[in-house]
Structures are given as structure tokens and as C-alpha cells.
């Protein structure tokens, strides 16, 4: 029996969750449990109340709208991985999800849990930053939308109140035929990534017309590279130049890895992801 005692709540509807969140003291939401359960087992977290979201069917959807992919907070990483809709409309996410932990953890882990946990190395966090997703948050007093760039308040801390919860995430979809590439480096497949890169590209056949390069894993939050790619022709030299701009990024410095090393790995990931994305972009 590892977790310290808590009071357990298993609401069936979002309204019930929000009313519990509004009234209970020291409550933690239990989504897929792939981060909170270890913290409970190790007693790093000892909340008085656990609100289990796993009976909430209404937040498990994956819905494609007009240039928007909306995913309910309780959609499991596995469901995203095996979704044809995601694979077609947002292949970057499909590629990224396959790097998350392992099959056994993706079977439980949710997108909402991953975004709220905000681990610096989290693939979904990097993807959400890459496309500028919108986080939809609810409380008893209503809903609000938070642009993903403003979602992190600090290291592993989302900017939401204790009576609020993330209910869904909206991802803008790039036009069909765009190039995409997600690359990460971890010492073992499924481990926390040391650096990751997410690239999205569009081209008119001659030049890159739209580009977004995002680096995750090296700092508390993902960072967008300020490389100038638009209006230029793709080449190894251009990719190398873009990768060099990782020098300007913030990078954590700790016992395991220095900031220089993290930036060095990030450069390699950026180059690989750019190559991959350009190889996939429709050239007309």
C-alpha cells in the first residue's frame, strides 16, 4: 500500500467534476495516472482528495472540424496513436505520440494529463507549442481559452486555477501536403527525451512558403526557432543554418547534461526533423 490515504471521488460527468473542484480542498485530478500515480506511490504527492476522471466518457473524443482538430482531455495517447483522423490531418502528432513512453503507458496516459503535467520533455507539449494550440479550460463559472504559449506558468506548472480543469485542446491543422517531422533523442526508447524537434513546412515547389521549427526537452518550455526559412530554397546548408540558431535558445544545465550539450543535441534533432519534413512536403 504505497499512496498515503486520500478520499476518492469518481464522478461520471464534467458538471460533477467541476462542482467537486469548486468545493473540495486540496484535490488532485487523476487522468491517466502515468505521472500522478508514481508521485502518489512515492508519496511525493499526498493530496486529501483524488478526483478520478477515468469514468468521464464525454472528454474522450477526437474531432476534426474546419482546419481544427479538437481532442478531449481524456483521450488516451493510444487512441491518438491509432486514430486515422489524427494520422491524416495531423501526422506530426501521430509521429510524436509514438515516442511517448511505452505501449503500456500510452494505453493509460491522456493528452490532458500530459499537457497539464507539462514535463519539459513531453512530446505532446512540444506538438502543442509547434502549432500554437488552444487549451480550453472549464470551471463552475464558465470556460476560457488559453493560447498554448501562455499555458505554462513555470516549470511543470500550467496557468490554471485550482478550481479549473483542462477539458479539451484545439490544434490548428496545416494544409494537406505539408511536410512534417518529429525527432527526439533519449538514451533508451521511451525515456525522457533530452531534446526533441518538431518541424512543419509548406512549399510552392521552389521555395519554403511556411515553416515552424520547435525545440522541446532542453528548457522548461518548448521554444520556437527564429530561423529564417520562408522564401528560401531548401538545402542542407539552410538546414544547418537553421540548426545553428539553437545557440540562441535557453537550455537547462544540470548534473546530467550541460546546456551546451543539450543545444548540441537539439541542433542534430532540428536538422533531422527538417530533412524529414522536407522529404515529405508536397512540392507543388
Amino acid at each position: 500500500m504505497k499512496p498515503a490515504p486520500f478520499k476518492y471521488h469518481d464522478p461520471r460527468t464534467l458538471d460533477e467534476v467541476l462542482s467537486l473542484l469548486g468545493s473540495l480542498e486540496d484535490a488532485r485530478l487523476l487522468a491517466g495516472g502515468q505521472s500522478l500515480m508514481p508521485m502518489l506511490n512515492m508519496r511525493l504527492a499526498q493530496p486529501l482528495n483524488i478526483i478520478d476522471l477515468n469514468r468521464l466518457e464525454e472528454l474522450t473524443y477526437i474531432r476534426l472540424g474546419d482546419e481544427i482538430l479538437e481532442i478531449g482531455a481524456m483521450a488516451r495517447q493510444r487512441d491518438i496513436e491509432f486514430s486515422d483522423v489524427v494520422r491524416q490531418a495531423f501526422p506530426l502528432m501521430y509521429e510524436a505520440v509514438r515516442h511517448i513512453g511505452h505501449r503500456q503507458t500510452r494505453n493509460r496516459g491522456t493528452i490532458g494529463g500530459s499537457l497539464c503535467h507539462l514535463d519539459p520533455s513531453a512530446e505532446l507539449v512540444c506538438v502543442a507549442a509547434a502549432v500554437g494550440a488552444t487549451v480550453i479550460v472549464a470551471s463552475q463559472s464558465g470556460r476560457r481559452e488559453i493560447p498554448f504559449a501562455k499555458f505554462p506558468a513555470g516549470l511543470m506548472t500550467p496557468s490554471i486555477e485550482s478550481n479549473e480543469m483542462v477539458i479539451a485542446i484545439r490544434f490548428p491543422i496545416w494544409k494537406s501536403g505539408h511536410g512534417y517531422g518529429f525527432e527526439e533523442f533519449a538514451r533508451r526508447h521511451g525515456d525522457f527525451a533530452l531534446a526533441s524537434a518538431a518541424v512543419l513546412l509548406e512549399s510552392d515547389g521552389h521555395r519554403i512558403t511556411r515553416a515552424r521549427v520547435t525545440v522541446g526537452g532542453i528548457a522548461p518550455q518548448p521554444q520556437t526557432l527564429l530561423a529564417k526559412l520562408e522564401g528560401r530554397s531548401a538545402s542542407e546548408a539552410l538546414f544547418a543554418e537553421a540548426a545553428e540558431s539553437c545557440d540562441a535558445l535557453e537550455a537547462m544545465n544540470d548534473l546530467n547534461y550541460t546546456s551546451d550539450y543539450r543545444r548540441h543535441i537539439a541542433k542534430a534533432m532540428v536538422k533531422r526533423a527538417l530533412r524529414k519534413a522536407y522529404g515529405r512536403v508536397s512540392k507543388h
Binding site: 500500500m1 490515504p5 469518481d10 502515468q34 508514481p38 506511490n41 505501449r103 503500456q104 494505453n107
Partner: protein, 159 residues
């Protein structure tokens, strides 16, 4: 006072109704309440994969699930895998033949992971096998025996 609730679930086809403390993990419930000690506990924080079981056919780490979350679900543990007490499941047989285990501590988790994996991906490449078992730590085999066993059982005739 620790809170308890009663749960009903099926484990290896058998129905159980039990009172559980709400903070009890599924792994502890299987081992201590049902005395199904084939599910092993290694790290208790979701890293080693030894406690892997199937819940409604999907492999999960039972140390990262509460027993109460299995209410109404069907759980399969290593005890429910072999067709009879004297026969091994083909995956178990292959592990035995290819030196896919030594001390055997990680093996129940490996077998449960492979059961789901081979259902989703019946004819995997070596790379796919290596990725599939990356969530199960094995300190004896160096994995090569496990990989050989999976490729043998998947190919059937390839062995």
C-alpha cells in the same frame, strides 16, 4: 480512517467481489487480496514493466492503476495465460526455447506485453519487437533471447 469501497471485476475469467482501500494499487490487489502473485512488482513507479497485466485486453502497468479503477473491468494476469496447468502458451514456450528468460522476474510482464503486442502486430520486424519490449526491464537476457523468441513465435514457421 482509510476509505474502502467494494468492487466487482473479472480476473482470468473468474468474478470477484472484494472490498478494497481506495488507495490500493491494482498490483497490490492482485497479489495480496487475490493471492495471484505471478504479477511481479519491481519499481512501483511505472518504469520496470514487471507488473504489466491486461485490462480489457490492453497492457497496463498495474502499479500505476488503482484497484478501484478496475471495477467492472476484465483483468488478465500471467496466471490466465497458459491453456492448462501442464501446457505453456506459445509465447511462454518460445521464451523457454530461445533463452528468453533467466531469473524470470520480469517474464510475467514481458509475456503480458507481448500478448497485446502480437495481437496488434502479428508479424513484427525485429525493430518493432525491440520497441515493444522497451518498456520491460530485463537484467539477465540482454534481450536477444526475448527478441529471438518473439520473432520465432510470430513467424511461426520462422523458428
Amino acid at each position: 480512517m482509510a476509505e474502502s469501497r467494494s468492487i466487482s471485476l473479472k480476473v482470468n475469467g473468474v468474478s470477484y467481489h472484494e472490498d478494497v482501500e481506495v488507495r490500493m494499487t491494482l498490483a497490490d490487489f492482485l497479489r495480496h487480496s487475490l493471492e495471484l502473485t505471478g504479477t511481479h512488482i519491481g519499481c512501483e513507479h511505472g518504469v520496470c514493466g514487471a507488473c504489466t497485466v491486461l485490462v480489457d485486453g490492453r497492457s497496463v502497468r498495474s502499479c500505476l492503476m488503482l484497484a478501484i479503477q478496475a471495477n467492472g473491468r476484465e483483468v488478465t494476469t500471467i496466471e490466465g495465460v497458459a491453456p492448462s496447468p501442464t501446457e505453456l502458451h506459445p509465447i511462454q514456450q518460445a521464451l523457454r526455447e530461445h533463452h528468453g528468460l533467466q531469473c524470470g522476474f520480469c517474464t510475467p510482464g514481458v509475456v503480458m506485453t507481448l500478448l497485446e503486442f502480437l495481437k496488434d502486430c502479428p508479424n513484427p520486424t525485429e525493430e518493432e519487437v525491440r520497441v515493444a519490449i522497451s518498456g520491460n526491464l530485463c537484467r539477465c537476457t540482454g534481450y536477444q533471447g526475448i527478441v529471438d523468441a518473439v520473432l520465432a513465435v510470430a513467424g511461426g514457421k520462422r523458428a
